[in-house]
Amino acid sequence: MELTEDHPQDGSAPAAVVPPLRRIVVESETVPIRVGDYAGPPDPNYGRDPWQVGTGTEGEPVWVEERMRTEDLSIAYGDNRAVKDVSIEVNSGEVLALIGPSGCGKTTLLRSLNRLVELTPAAKRTGRIILDNQSVDDFDVTQLRSRVGMLFQQPNPFPMSIFDNVAYGLRERGSKKPRRKILEPVVVDALERAGLWDEVSSNLNHPALALSGGQQQRLCIARSLAVSPEVLLLDEPCSALDPISTSIIEETIVELKSEVAIVIVTHNLQQAARIADRVAFMYLGDLVEQGAAGQVFGAPREERTQDYVGGGFG
């Protein structure tokens, strides 16, 4: 066991008024790194199962790092509490799936992570949401949303060309619009990562709405990736798509998880089992259970989870 003090290296940080945060990294051959307000060995029931994310394809360790977490988060629409005291972490390097019956608050939870829930006038929030050790309220909302991207249930490309769709976030965020020449490599890169480049490389100027539903959804992924988010929120991204498009999107998600922390809301338990590393089950606004995908689906601890998951699988 070794202890290292890590001082700010840029030298510009002002004298800390707030006591410094202690971040503890636990590392072993079998237990992957875990960062957070945490002291002690990983909770066997809560952390990642070794067989889930312990090692990569070539035996190298797969790193996960906390990007976001909520602390006692509650969201209410008027008197109706949609999310009740939920504390959950979002880690990079893994896919977190939120499952649960309709109206259980999972979409609300998702939309609160990038403060999109604030577009609903009646919504009220208590509790904290932390992005990289900073409350999301401290961010400029536009800055927050460019770091926490989101994908919606219905593909929603803008009525513009494919290129303009992907470039949109980059063009419209700053005071100065970058030229197409500068944007081009970024757009191409985003389309490649979204797995759409091969299909659209020859018609970047075609209207985006002429693409098929699955292509539109991947275009929306590319549009989010172009602004290089650190967290990507997916709100039932495949519910409007056919099985083939769904499997392509799922592949894309799995490929992306090494670069971006992914949270996905899904009704499709098979889908959650296929792509998720960690699963959280919500019911009537409560976070009932969370854990490694294998554990939640294979050996749920809560009865409610068992009922839901059991119903879903058999």
Partner: protein, 339 residues
């Protein structure tokens, strides 16, 4: 078996009967719908045939300037009764100029004002204000132009005459025109107030119809509210803005009574070189000229001149419809009817 085949024949005949009535109804309705084309063709032919002498006598100089247009109209009105001695000499530029100037400026101001107000109403206005202002805007869009004209001539014109027109200013242009408050300034102002509600009503409806998912999509990319509005919503409603523009321009172009009340009703071409006085000079667009001279329509050469003005208005409004159609078509490329 026999009964069945009998029924079959019966059914066939019935179907034939049904087809025949249906065909008759279709032809009847189709014929009725086609009469609208006949009507337009008739209107164009009638108006142009009637207007022809005025154009042929003057040639392209009809559109030019030269002399006082009101004097020329007076001479036409007083032409001798014999057809061979009819007077047609006319240089209509001041009227065309007034039409273009007043309509153009009012429409330009209105587009900007209406788009911004539409955004305000849909996106930024407090709920209670929005609920009040929307029906009021719809009401103002339906208020008869003569009421705007009345307010203009009884309130705005005296105000301008009292506060903006000094004796010195009057004298500075007294050798060509008399300033009495009726002016292109008031004309443009009242016309703007008149056509803005029409545009705002259309723009607000269109903005409200923009799918939420586009606005949310832009917000989720970290684009601020204003940018999202401008780059997604406004872009998406461009066809509606064009439609509003066409409708408002058509109204402005054809506005006769109100402008004849507040814009001075003098066939004068305001001179931009006069500085601010320019705005206080009177003018009279084509439509007002026709309505002001309604009594003289039965005097043959004078009536023909009026129909020449009508012909110009007719061409302009047809061209306007066409331009609007072309613009909407060019915008629809990326929208693909997704709205």
């Amino acid at each position: 078996m026999e009964a069945a085949s009998f029924n079959e024949v019966d059914l066939q005949e019935q179907t034939l009967e049904v087809d025949r009535t249906d065909r008759r109804v279709e032809l009847l309705l189709g014929a009725l719908a086609s009469t609208i084309l006949l009507l337009i063709a008739g209107m164009i032919i009638f108006v142009f045939v009637k207007a022809l002498p005025s154009f042929t006598h003057n040639g392209l100089a009809w559109f030019g300037s030269g002399g006082s247009v009101d004097d020329q109209l007076m001479n036409i009105f007083n032409s001798p009764a014999e057809p061979e001695n009819y007077v047609y000499h006319l240089r209509a530029w001041p009227l065309l100029y007034a039409t273009i100037l007043i309509t153009g400026v009012a429409v330009l101001i209105s587009v900007v004002f209406s788009v911004l107000s539409g955004i305000f109403i849909v996106e930024f206005a407090p709920e209670r204000l929005r609920k009040t202002i929307e029906p009021v805007v719809k009401l103002l869009a339906a208020v008869p132009s003569v009421i705007y004209g009345l307010i203009g001539i009884l309130v705005v014109v005296p105000f301008v005459a009292e506060h903006l027109i000094s004796e010195g200013r009057k004298e500075s242009v007294a050798y060509v025109i008399q300033l009495d408050g009726t002016s292109i300034l008031v004309g443009v102002f009242i016309l703007t107030i008149m056509i803005c509600p029409i545009m705002i009503a259309i723009i607000v409806d269109a903005l409200r119809a923009v799918p939420d998912k586009w606005v949310e999509g832009a917000a989720a990319l970290g684009v601020n509210r204003w940018r999202a509005m401008r780059t997604v919503s406004l872009r998406a409603i461009r066809p509606a803005i064009v439609a509003a523009l066409v409708l408002a321009t058509a109204r402005a172009l054809g506005e006769a009574i109100m402008l004849s009340m507040v814009a001075g009703s003098v066939g004068f071409a305001p001179n931009p070189l006069d500085g601010f006085t320019f705005f206080l000079e009177p003018a009279r667009p084509l439509a007002s000229t026709i309505v002001d001279n309604a009594e003289g329509l039965s005097v043959a050469p004078f009536g023909q001149t009026m129909y020449a003005f009508a012909a110009i208005l007719l061409i302009s409004s047809a061209f306007l419809s066409f331009a609007g159609w072309a613009a909407r078509k060019s915008f629809s490329r990326y929208t693909l009817g997704a709205r």
